[in-house]
Symmetry: C2
Amino acid sequence: MTEIEITDVTAACATSLVGEPLSEAAAAELAHTMKALADPARLRLLSIVAASGGGEACVCDLTGPVGLSQPTVSHHLKVLTEAGFLSRTKRGTWAYYALVPGALDRVSRALGAA
Amino acid sequence: MTEIEITDVTAACATSLVGEPLSEAAAAELAHTMKALADPARLRLLSIVAASGGGEACVCDLTGPVGLSQPTVSHHLKVLTEAGFLSRTKRGTWAYYALVPGALDRVSRALGAA
């Protein structure tokens, strides 16, 4: 597991990859955001949260489907939350995660899609 | 520099992150594709090629702007080519790289953008 520092997806995706050459700073920010998505477990977690009824999922619902320990799942969820893809709400014993509206679309636009 | 194995972007992006939960295999393929983009030098190289007059750039034009040695630039270009983002044409002494039409859009769609 690699620890990475991630800036918020909103800042990272303000510029587009296709148009004019990316500055060094913009490329570094966008690369950090892409790193959050460059992991199979994190992609699966995002897709499970996105497909969850009510739009949110509890850590307790996520460990089973991905077949990883709760600490590992919590680490991946933290990376996704810090990158701005997930929001986290604590209710009682559990934390619930939901997709941040528009976050994936912003990455999508940064890749230069029309 | 980390060596990564990358499958072609076309296969990796056949499914969408938002819709139904990604299978383990689909998540692994998409993560490999994202890894090719999760590097600031590779993002800058892609953006410079995209912005080049005539739609293609020579390795000899790319080392200066990114401030890296030619072997390092060639490595990054190889990763991007193997991932399906760039095409490579040899003419005389130099290799010329061009953006593969639709490759970034396919990743963009895999992220679930409308």
